[in-house]
Symmetry: C2
Subunit: 450 residues, 2 copies
């Protein structure tokens, strides 16, 4: 939820935009943190966004805004801007964010931008673009402090004032050998507490934790989170230091991955679509609904098979929603717990049978509880023991099968390295619907002798 | 998903525990990072956990493990431990983690522990316990560096070697006035680049970003994430510096909040329950299913009203699953997008009508697409125009109402400050089920003249 402060900001900016109070607006805009401005941006129309962006005078603030905007907004906003102006803003940004943006632009535009950039910087960006988007290489920054092991603490501090004065996140100093291979690390803090003449070799930590350039970004983020570190060095195949991944990027990755998991489980795409146009959103959501459509059509062919039973006892149909609903809901509980447990490391993929057995037990217990309850209501309403018993049994079957399927499918997918989140939502729900309806009619026609 | 390295670790530890290879085990355990050990712990039985814990010789490693364990595991593990041993471990831990653990223990046990702790430390813990669990005060650490503004850079560096040598996360130095009020901040890096005789006053940043002790922890975490800072100072009502919240805690909070949202939306409680016993899990999940049970019972009373229509055209029942399923699935998409959008700040709670209108439009478009498709299949199967038309119209109604309800309910709840996640899952699904079934039978009986 936005804080109250942000709500007030959004409203005053909207009001000032409507009134065309340009000088007042530019005062507010230039006093506001770019991260807050990007929240405001999401609530504005394209024309308003252009106007507001034009009022920002600080290039660095524009840069932060660039890296916070989603792809579509960025494209719309820069459509009419001159390449020179875009380049000036990009040059004020960290290299990994620039690579991110350039990587998403159409080939033609990205080439034009790279051509106009300073040689050294465009080289750095192109280096990063060689790595996969979602790997350690793709998210690392090449700005880090690397020194030789015979450098003294005093010399290291001096280098912070001179050659490394532009390194942004300077809390660790990395120590490399003559080939640029990572051999140690020291914190900035350690540097000031030893005596100035001590060489790095004597106080650096040699047991350095590092990751390879091709490691998946989610794994990198989890490692940084698990070990409570502020930055992790990224090395190539021969242990040469290539860059670092900092904790602020790790936070962004963890949040993005959580959002992706949530959306996938609901069958709503992978990326957040609310800011896209109605037609784009529709296109992304359409295919996920197709699974449940096919399942539903399959269900009506199954029920069609029991048409003669239904015409004898019409109120058999009345229990379809409750049986489907109970199965669907416990199945969602099970699959959600398993998917999130796997994502956070609370559930180990090796423990498949323990987890599935536990879920099945829970499904059986809850099935008995609700089967008894719903069966009793059925008995009160229709006074037919065989019908009430069929409904109760169907609820038990539906709920225990749902808990079984809801846990087994994501565990099984994780085991064979398919993302459990993407496979879970629509698949599990649809499978449970079909199974529930089928069991119900089989049980009812048998017990009622139809 | 656990990395391969961790899978191997879990398996070797389990194998060694079975074989009782104590000396080999204790070698492995004492070389492993506590964060990795805590992952292993989740896969072990209580007896195995006790045994493994006993093999750890390093008190600090035990401390990290303590803070990573969930409440139940912690209680089970320490049941038979002597208070002195628990205290020795707690004293090696950061104060906020100790307060977290003590706050969750039964009164009797927590008092026994506090009595045995060193006076200064138990005082710090009790200070933290005064603040709400989920507030900035409850998650801050009282270990920070606070200096007066006339202190020089050289003196500040000296204080790092003497009085502040035990501060763990020392990347910012806070500057306070004679009353302990926060007036500025300097980074450790800034400290080493200025000339040693410069007083803090001359290079500190006076525009310090701080939060109040009673701010909700989720808000604090979002601010740290948004502004890319490593720690935020926490002040009381009169701007006195009380502690800092560091970025590693922020990561934990953001992950925990994401997990809570996901679980609430699936109606599976708030806390992660997979590690709890079967009966505890059952008890937590039972009440959430009651909503869908009541909804289902309500639905069968509604369908009961249409009994005479059903006995005339039995296959009316065959379309119940597909109509419920399509509505339920698009409703889940809408509510998931809205809940996650609100949580991440991508959707502003003030834009309620824009968001709801957009979702309704998407619901209508997708309703037409799938209504046409499902209606056509119905026509092919039963060759009854009025039936096919009823089914098509019911799908359109069900899907657009579902998108409307799915977006309106969480937006409305957020507007009146009720957590949209907790209210969304079971409520939305159940409401959509009932509405869908009712519309379907109303449309069908009208068009078919039943």
């Amino acid at each position: 939820m936005a804080t109250d402060r942000n709500r007030i900001l959004v409203e005053s900016i909207k009001r000032l935009l409507r009134r065309g109070a340009t000088s007042h607006l530019s005062k507010i805009v230039n006093k506001t943190h770019a991260a807050d401005l990007s929240l405001v941006f999401h609530s504005l129309s394209l024309a308003q966004q252009r106007k507001l962006f034009g009022l920002i005078s600080n290039v660095e603030q524009k840069g932060i805004l660039f890296s916070e905007l989603d792809e579509d907004t960025f494209q719309d906003l820069t459509e009419d801007m001159r390449v020179e102006d875009i380049v000036r803003i990009l040059e004020s940004m960290p290299t990994d964010d620039v690579a991110d943006i350039i990587g998403r632009l159409p080939e033609e535009k990205s080439q034009a931008i790279l051509d106009k950039m300073k040689r050294a910087e465009s080289q750095e960006v192109e280096d990063l673009l060689r790595y996969g988007d979602d790997t350690a290489g793709g998210i690392m920054v090449p700005d880090f402090i690397a020194l030789r092991e015979d450098v003294t603490a005093r010399e290291a501090i001096e280098s912070l004032q001179t050659e490394h004065s532009d390194v942004e996140m300077a809390f660790y100093l990395y120590v490399v050998d003559e080939y640029g291979k990572l051999v140690g690390v020291s914190s900035l803090r350690q540097l000031v507490v030893v005596s100035p003449a001590t060489p790095l070799r004597e106080f650096m930590i040699t047991d350095v934790f590092s990751v390879q350039t091709d490691m998946d970004q989610e794994e990198v983020a989890k490692l940084v989170a698990r070990y409570d570190i502020l930055a992790v060095p990224v090395v190539d195949g021969s242990n040469r230091l290539m860059g670092i991944v900092t904790v602020d990027d790790v936070i962004d990755i963890l949040r993005k991955e959580a959002t992706e998991d949530i959306l996938k489980m609901a069958g709503a795409g992978e990326e957040f679509v609310e800011t896209k146009s109605i037609f784009k959103s529709t296109r992304i959501r359409l295919p996920w609904l197709f699974a449940s459509c096919l399942g539903g059509i399959f269900a009506f062919f199954i029920i069609g098979e029991f048409e003669s039973s239904l015409s004898k006892i019409a109120y058999l149909a009345a229990f379809i929603p409750v049986i489907m609903g109970m199965g669907g809901n416990i199945g969602t509980q099970s699959s959600t717990i398993v998917v999130r447990g796997l994502a956070t490391g609370r559930i180990n993929v090796r423990d498949i049978w323990t987890v599935v057995f536990k879920e099945l037990s829970i499904g059986l217990i809850l099935g008995f509880v609700y089967g008894l309850l719903i069966g009793s209501v059925a008995q009160v309403r229709y006074s037919m023991e065989a019908l009430a018993l069929s409904v109760a049994l169907a609820v038990i079957c539906s709920m225990s099968v749902a808990a079984l399927v809801g846990s087994l499918v994501p565990m099984g997918f994780a085991r064979i390295n398919i993302d459990p989140a993407v496979a879970t939502g629509p698949l599990v729900t649809t499978a449970i619907d079909i199974i529930s309806v089928f069991f119900y009619f089989m049980i009812a026609t048998t017990l009622l002798g139809l």
